[in-house]
Symmetry: D2
Subunit: 350 residues, 4 copies
């Protein structure tokens, strides 16, 4: 296997992150995230999002962040609205349902949710024989690599407010989302629009760790109880605090995301030039080219990546680039792809 | 504050652990604990416990390990038997109950459970109006610093087998337990006695991470599903695998535990020589001297540690030493203690 | 309002049921369903289904029966496969999710599930990042009034066995299903095919109560614990036992279902003769005629019934007849319908 | 077996209750408790408790009422404070824990809770590593037959208010409690003191059914969702409404409770006159005489009742009288007891 385009969490951590972890030596610190590093990291994040009143909590992974946040907010009969492709609907082994809550899933080809989707669910749930939708879950960037634009997010937020719904944004790839050249949203925009969101570390240079940001005051109370109960309050919380300090003290987080995005777009451009189409428009570090099955099969012998959707004689695959992806990988892949096959040539039946 | 004796997780990690983490550079690896480092760490652990058939899983913390293990085993109506002082009963914010299960708590001054305790619970639970006890939870070393001896563990195990109960051992401080000079149990003994146990990393040199060991074949199926659902399957599982590799490849784990224990016993010896008694006999790296309240108060101005039990004019405190505790800390504490006060002098009213 | 066709649970209970309840006077009996009446009712049911080895338990309602049965079977990571129109997916306020389990919902226009649906779900759920489908939920008769035929049920059962899945049948309207002239299945067929099913009393003459029948030996253990924990073990279990005795001692249950079905079919025939179509083929006591919106609106001023689906200028409505529906109600409805409007006349735009 | 003193739910229902159920014939009514009978029963109850603003909901049994009420109020990390002898702690198969909540159990010889007990729990639970006590559970009458007096209830209520705790009263035997000659509390007192309580029907003349009364406005929202989700919203809610109408339209509920209490006290008086002592002072329809084991054994051959506590050579037993207990039963029991043995005769070793 030459390289992996399977995901953006295949490398342990950015050297600056590891180096800050190694630097603290045997200094004694407070447990459970009350240490000086975590405090500093929280301040850096609150500065970045321009929301001094926000609460910031560090949690080891995304599935856990989603489950802790959502279960801390909902009463037993309340439900989540999310896209069918939303991570909580598919690849978290029913973590939300395990806390007792139904997810009302909406079909969405783009992987993004819109106000009409929300209204459809809200209006079809009337009365005590059905769950009560209460929280809207979206991901930025979405599982399809797409980004919400400012107008889209505002419309969602307005719809949520009008319907008494909480807006929660899964930011496992918030770095890629915000730093996409197709995204006109700032960190402050997220802080001003979402009730809660998280800034993902694992998929953008950290060894592990996500920063949950609670913007809505009414959702702050006792959040650490929920973390502890769900096993999300690490004894050595400093281990995450230090990583976010490294990522946010001088812009590393954004630089890594830009790099991952741009590498993916370079790859997408090259693939497009070879005549291939994409399932979704490439916007961030996840791209979904469509290859004839035979080509996809051959590429699998050289690279590690995911088949995303089987479409008869073609396969949409997912290629992901990380903060650490190198231009050489892109060129090698494009070279191999070029050599493999002439795509869709006129008059030849393959 | 001169030093902290508050706990054994105040320092980030042993240098060898951090150094191995830093050594892997930007190498790409498999996600979710299927990487080469985790595989190697599992083999090291299975060698250490002399149980090649065991399943080993890495989980980020103890509360999470307890919740994942216990909820993976019990049916909804089944319950846990544990000491009132057991960590799951007190300091895990109801994490076990949050997965739906009652804990039948047993009063135990020593912090250790015995067969009679189990039989008492089992025999008083008869029929469908009560929960059905199904799993016995003990900690080695216990929350009182005490260690189970071979005969005690055998008796518990026999009782569990006779009553169809699963024996689960919380090993947050298994290193301290096994390496106590008062403990005649080997790693293999645990693997041969417990149905499941975990080897705690967080409190013995790791930055975070516990190694859950499933010895009973009937409990192995689908364990990774439970991990994922509870947010315990880290994307970069290698981050824990690497740490356990560092701890178990050349005996570091045991050396660190021996050091922590011996430092605590030195401290205990010194305190005893000054005439103070202990709430529990010092056996591992947690010791519980009893000081007059005034002395405890003054010590609190110099050192960080926990008050354990208020006993009228005296306070039993908890002093914990870590793998990193230095002889200087012990001497300094003893010096200060000596200087503070002549304990319990005859004829003087204090 | 002249009459209600809203549902089949608008009348308290059949006179024979009430009369048996009133007959026992102040006789003392055992609690929690261990009384003589419940025992006799269980024997009657086991005779009817020709399965002496079955376990029969009485539960007060359908939502409770579904939740107790399903949560007693599944481990935390396991999921249910059901039609989107399945009662557990829609009108039980997330009762299954509240016990921690995801429902993998399948779109089905007919309201019935087929083997291909199951295989589709099973084959797309691979590995620990997703829930593990484990139980198949169907309803006989279905929420669309349709009945499974013998060949369909066999195919489902074979598919379940081949894939290690439990087959559970919600029999809220089992009476209507089995006694449909379109159904070639006997009680024994259900007992021989399903792992668990229930025989609904509430919707077929009882005041309340459903009889859960566990056919698969491996699912029997400790079922009463689950009932008790979920509040489903009535102190005076005799109150349900007596009702099932009344329903099953001399064929009342079947007679009531036949009556409800035949009344509905008479109504359907009349509606069809007036030129109206149906959303689903009428097979049991729930029928779904499609009326122009204006006609539906007018009918709502005279009768109580449910709008089922809005279809532009037409509405599919649901008309339900109970064991107590009278021929006069049918004639009155048809007369009113006839008088209201000439449906779909040629050349007239309405 | 001559008679059963095992409990107060051995007879199906009072004739007036059955007769009202039988009287409604085949009249169609609204489902899910929105029928005219339930509405009238609610009004009767609100009149009785002199609290027009209260919400009244009918639920089929006590375990279910407790689970629905408590889980509707608590957030995931919040816990219940209750006596160890409280029904939710012992005989409900972990129903509260199954909804995710720990019960902080307090030892209480009397079976009653006091403000000091509450303060003890609250003050020992500080911070996010422990559950957060939020709801106080008491039973009137208590599981020991004891009744709370006005001063006791006020003190509890004041303590709850001062500590931000919800006061919930399990009234499975509220009739016996309020109508005890030792109780100075009215229905209105309960409505003015408790945040929520329930009026038990099952143990006082109903076939089944409990009336949950929500007094605190902040706890009312969406309660029917919780009922439905937990399977507690009966399709034919009228079946409970009718029973409470029968019980409350002309004082039947109180008359039955007075009868049960007075019969028990007559029995207690007779037993006392024979020289036997009681474990708890007889106050309601549950009494706990202490018999030598041999006498208890012989009585078991004649009557059905429960052994409550083994005390060496003596056994405290529980004798319960129902609304239907007859004076003849009392006399027969006392006669048999007298005939059996001369209790504790001087100089004779038995």
């Amino acid at each position: 296997m030459k390289h992996s385009f399977r995901n953006d969490y295949s490398e342990l951590a950015h050297p600056d992150v590891l180096s800050l972890l190694s630097s603290v030596g045997s200094k004694q610190f407070e447990g459970y995230g009350n240490d000086e590093y975590s405090i500093r990291a929280r301040e850096l994040i609150k500065g970045k999002i321009e929301k001094p009143s926000a609460d910031v909590h560090f949690i080891s992974g995304g599935t856990q962040a989603n489950a802790v946040v959502i279960s801390s907010i909902l009463r037993p009969h309340e439900a989540v609205i999310a896209c069918e492709s939303g991570h909580i609907c598919t690849y978290e082994t029913g973590a939300i349902e395990a806390t007792g809550h139904k997810i009302c899933a909406v079909k969405s080809e783009s992987g993004k949710l819109c106000a009409d989707d929300i209204i459809g669910i809200v209006s079809s749930h009337n009365g005590e024989h059905m769950v009560k939708p209460r929280l809207v879950f979206i991901s930025q960037s979405a599982e399809t690599g797409a980004v919400y634009k400012k107008a889209e997010l505002s419309a969602l937020s307005d719809c949520c407010k009008a319907n008494g719904l909480i807006l929660y944004i899964d930011g496992a790839r918030l770095g890629a989302g915000i730093n996409s050249r197709f995204c006109d949203l700032s960190y402050a925009d997220f802080a001003n629009t979402a009730d809660v969101f998280y800034i993902g570390g694992t998929k953008n240079g950290a060894m592990f760790g996500e920063a949950v940001v609670i913007c809505n005051d009414t959702l702050k109370e006792d959040f650490r109880y929920h973390m502890k109960q769900k096993g999300a309050l690490l004894a050595k919380g400093a281990s995450i605090g230090l990583q976010f300090e490294a990522l946010f003290e001088s812009g590393l987080y954004d630089r890594l995301a830009v790099h991952a995005n741009e590498t993916a777009l370079k790859l997408a451009e090259g693939i497009g030039e070879l005549g291939y189409k994409f399932l979704y428009k490439p916007e961030t570090n996840q791209i979904f080219p469509i290859f004839p099955n035979k080509i996809a099969d051959k590429l699998h012998t050289l690279y590690d990546f995911l088949n995303w959707r089987q479409m008869g004689e073609e396969t949409a695959v997912r290629l992901v680039t990380s903060w650490n992806a190198e231009e050489g990988m892109v060129n090698e892949f494009l070279g191999d792809l070029k050599g493999l096959y002439l795509p869709r040539p006129v008059g030849i039946d393959y």
